[in-house]
């Protein structure tokens, strides 16, 4: 507390103590030295503190130089023996998911014993699974099961939704899957964000949901396949939007540039596009069952641009020419916009 500076040695004299002999002014030598010393120390201390804390120059608020972290790559080295993309058709989530991953060489190709795996679902909205606006709980369950079977020591599930995080995770059914399978569900608390630095087309410095990546050494993007009002479609590339914080509503000013910056920002181990039920219209929120079409397909791969190009042409059933962000990304060699060029395998359950 700021009040009071104690003179511990100013108390009455003790006769035989040499320091306690009174001086002319009635103060003992010890008290004299102590009081003088205390005041001198306070004076010196305030000068030193003032000099230490002194800010002699101004700065311009809001224009400080920004720095941030660089995200490492979570991608594996290219494997020429195995396909880089797999398309599986089937009626149920788990067998179809297993078929897709199996076609890529199995989860063991991507996950080793002891790995900490971050699974990034898209839980942007407070919607039930049937409306296909969020990653389906069956998809998360299937992927988490395979990852754990491959020996992962820990699975983190994290997203920064548009709607209230607790509501989104709860009503999308992912909270239930996380507690059932003992996954580590990480909410987007402010303290879990750090500034990210990127030399993107438009994304330079932005606050990033960093906490999951401090622990994880493998990253799997698990996204639904959705219509989007502004950028036409939200698939595995746009899924990484949910790792950013701050004023994301500004992204719409340059949406195709931003989405094409995502494959530069995030180099995942694997991406999975859940095309079992596709949100064909009124995206990205949906709202009616009639917006959803059953497509019974899972696409998995290491190149998110290729996976999305398949999704847009074969699941959304649209013309790829209009999907500007795919071409922006391909032009910058961040992926292949022609999925047929990649080594792919198509399987039927």
């Amino acid at each position: 507390m700021v009040i009071g500076i104690k003179h511990s040695l100013m108390t009455p004299n003790i006769e035989n103590d040499p320091g306690s002999k009174p001086l002319e002014n009635g103060v003992t030598r010890r008290e004299f030295v102590t009081r003088l010393g205390a005041t001198a120390a306070l004076m010196a201390g305030s000068v030193i503190a003032a000099r230490e804390l002194w800010q002699p120059h101004h700065f311009v608020p809001g224009f400080e130089k920004q720095t941030g972290l660089q995200l490492p790559s979570f991608a594996l080295e290219k494997n020429k023996m195995l396909p880089s993309m797999a398309i599986a058709h089937g009626a149920e989530h788990e067998p179809t998911m297993r078929a897709a991953i199996g076609a890529l060489g199995g989860m063991g190709r991507f996950i080793q014993r002891g790995d900490v795996v971050m699974i990034k679902p898209n839980v942007a909205f407070d919607r039930p699974p049937a409306l296909a606006a969020t990653t389906h709980p069956d998809a998360l369950r299937a992927v988490a099961k395979m990852v754990l079977e491959a020996g992962a020591s820990r699975v983190i599930v994290a997203d920064n939704p548009i709607n209230s995080p607790t509501g989104c995770f709860l009503k999308s059914g992912l909270t239930a899957v996380a507690s059932e399978m003992n996954l580590d569900l990480m909410y987007p608390e402010l303290s879990r964000f750090s500034p990210l630095e990127l030399n993107g087309e438009i994304l330079k410095n932005w606050t990033f949901f960093h906490e999951p990546f401090k622990k994880a050494n493998k990253v799997i993007g698990l996204s639904p396949c959705k219509d989007h009002n502004l950028c036409h479609a939200s698939m595995t590339m746009k899924n990484w939007y949910g790792l950013l914080g701050g004023r994301r509503n500004q992204f719409h000013q340059h949406i195709h540039s931003i989405v094409s910056d995502f494959p530069l920002m995030m180099k995942p181990t694997l991406v999975i596009l859940d095309g079992m039920n596709v949100l064909m219209s009124n995206g990205p929120t949906g709202g009616r069952l009639s917006d959803v079409k059953k497509m019974n397909t899972i696409v998995a791969g290491t190149d998110m641009v290729a996976v999305d190009s398949y999704g847009y042409t074969h699941l959304m059933e649209r013309n790829l020419d209009e999907l500007t962000y795919i071409h922006k990304a391909a032009d910058r060699k961040l992926g292949d916009s022609n999925w047929k060029d990649s080594s792919y395998k198509e399987v039927q359950v």
Binding site: N25, R35, V47, H58, G62, F63, R247, F251, Q253, H254
Partner: protein, 526 residues
């Protein structure tokens, strides 16, 4: 004939100092004006105020530029005690003088002695100080409510000078200045001055947090008033003119002593002296603050911070009217640095700066905000930032403000963004040509541009006029469009805080975002 040597008393020396420092304060207040400022250190009293330096060091972890001058007061206080209070402090001098003028100074001797005895109430200022420091530890700076220098500057700026100018037009301003809520600040002065009738030096003894701060420092003072008990006859005459109510007739309360030396001069027995390291046995050395009241003060301060912050005015629920002066820190930092001294408001040549009411929450009362109805921010002016003692408004240059010269890469400082209200705009809704806003827009290329349109009027005839638009990438939020709009009660174009550059969270356009006008500008520069 009076012997000149008799005039050279301690009391008269002090009076000379009081007149000098009071005059210096008034001089600084007067020259805080674009016409007169030149190089005068107009905020020197604020910069010397150790409570300002101490409290901003807590909230900002720095001592901003001129606040280093606070050492000029800290060091002598550690040697002699609260000499500031009765020799230098203009607000203390005001209370000293008015107290003498209005009552106790002219009362009968016994009454005066009784009015200068120490009262338990005088411990309140320490609780106030503790609460303000606790609030500062939380992150909100509230010393400005009662710090005497801030309080006096604020009162002079918002109430006294405009009042003088009302009675004597053009004596202070070329055109009358207005300050929102000036009546409250003005009345507060009258209440505080009037309290001298009840208790002499009421403000200084009971409320002053700076006095409490200096009182705490003076615990360590080496020179102190000492009473020779062998000479003292217990006449209590030393209390007759005791300014601090520090009980020199009994156990001296050093932390209350204003070092006015009246007691020494009033003592008929020569029992009192100002001595180097006297014995402390006859003193009450520490400020009298019961521990539980100190704890209560701490809780009140922390609660003030927490409740204020939790009200959201500096967060998601920020008010569109909280448009801060150019160079201001982002809002939370601003609330941690602004002492509500209103020097910026005094210096502002357009009267656009106004003391806030509740716009920025309970924490931001009397901090500066721009009111475009009253004024506008002059592009080539940074005078508010020059007089800000704490760096709440950083001392920016014109180049930094306008984004020119070596600051061209960063671009201009923006205070907000202008938006049209089509329903109130003459060419948009009322078949009437106007675009004054475009005319006065000071940036180049203009942020306000217009397109010519031919419209069919109510009577069926056609007319051609220009309809204005805003380019948000170019608008700096200076507010002259709003100020000059002919729809003067609520302008058809109004600036709101969004888009201000001081906070990355409050920008409107994404970094790197450009509009066609900006692209044109870049092309031309190439």
């Amino acid at each position: 004939m009076i012997n000149p040597r008799q005039l050279l008393t301690l009391r008269n020396t002090r009076r000379v100092a009081q007149v000098f420092f009071f005059g210096l304060f008034l001089f600084f207040v007067f020259v805080t004006d674009l016409r007169y400022l030149k190089g005068y250190p107009a905020s020197l009293f604020l910069e010397m105020d150790p409570l300002v330096a101490f409290a901003t060091a807590i909230t900002r972890h720095t001592i901003y530029m001129g606040l280093i001058w606070s050492l000029l007061l800290v060091l002598p206080t550690l040697l002699f005690g609260r000499i500031f209070c009765n020799w230098i402090c203009p607000y203390g001098i005001l209370h000293h003088f008015t107290g003498w003028l209005m009552g106790k100074g002219r009362a009968e001797e016994r009454e005066r002695i009784e009015s200068n005895r120490y009262k338990k109430l005088y411990g309140l200022k320490y609780v106030i100080l503790i609460a303000m420091i606790a609030a500062a530890v939380g992150g909100t700076l509230q010393i400005g409510w009662l710090d005497p220098i801030c309080l006096f500057h604020r009162t002079m700026t918002t109430a006294i000078l405009p009042a003088i100018n009302l009675f004597f037009p053009s004596s202070v301003y070329v055109q009358q200045y207005f300050h929102v809520g000036a009546w409250a600040i003005g009345f507060l002065l009258f209440i505080l001055v009037g309290m001298n009738v009840v208790i002499p030096r009421f403000f200084c003894r009971v409320l002053c947090p700076l006095g409490a701060f200096l009182g705490t420092l003076s615990t360590a003072a080496l020179w102190r008033i000492d009473r020779d008990v062998t000479k003292c006859v217990d006449c209590d005459l030393c209390l007759k003119n005791c300014e601090g109510a520090s009980d020199p007739q009994a156990q001296l309360r050093k932390s209350e002593c204003f070092v006015c030396f009246n007691c020494i001069e009033d003592c008929p027995e020569d029992a009192l002296s100002f001595k180097f390291l006297p014995k402390l046995q006859n003193e009450i050395t520490k400020p009298a603050v019961p521990a539980r009241r100190a704890v209560l003060g701490t809780l009140i301060g922390l609660a003030f911070y927490a409740f204020g912050r939790a009200s959201g005015a500096s967060g998601r629920n920020y008010d569109k009217k909280v448009i801060r002066p150019p160079g201001s820190l982002e809002e939370k930092d601003f609330l941690a640095a602004c002492i509500k001294c209103d020097q910026c408001i005094r210096a502002c040549p357009t009267n656009v700066l106004q003391p806030a009411g509740m716009e920025s929450g309970i924490e931001g009362i009397w901090t500066p905000i721009l009111n475009m109805k009253i004024g506008f921010c002059e592009v080539n002016c940074t005078i508010c930032s020059q007089v800000c003692p704490t760096g709440a408004i950083q001392r920016i240059t014109i180049e930094e403000k306008t984004g020119t010269g070596s600051f061209a890469q960063e671009g201009p400082i923006k205070l907000g963004t202008a938006f049209f209200d089509h329903g109130r705009c003459l060419p948009w809704s009322m078949e009437t040509p106007c675009v004054v806003c475009e005319e006065v827009c000071p940036v180049s290329p203009k942020a306000i541009y217009s397109h010519e349109v031919t419209i069919t009027k109510r009577d069926g005839n056609t007319m051609t006029l220009r309809r204005p638009f805003v380019d948000p990438a170019l608008c700096i939020g200076c507010g002259i469009c709003e100020h000059e709009c002919p729809v003067t009660d609520e302008a058809a174009i109004r600036v709101t805080a969004i888009g201000e550059t001081r906070s990355r969270e409050r920008r409107l356009l994404m970094d790197g975002g450009v509009t066609s006008a900006v692209r044109d500008l870049e092309k031309r520069e190439r």
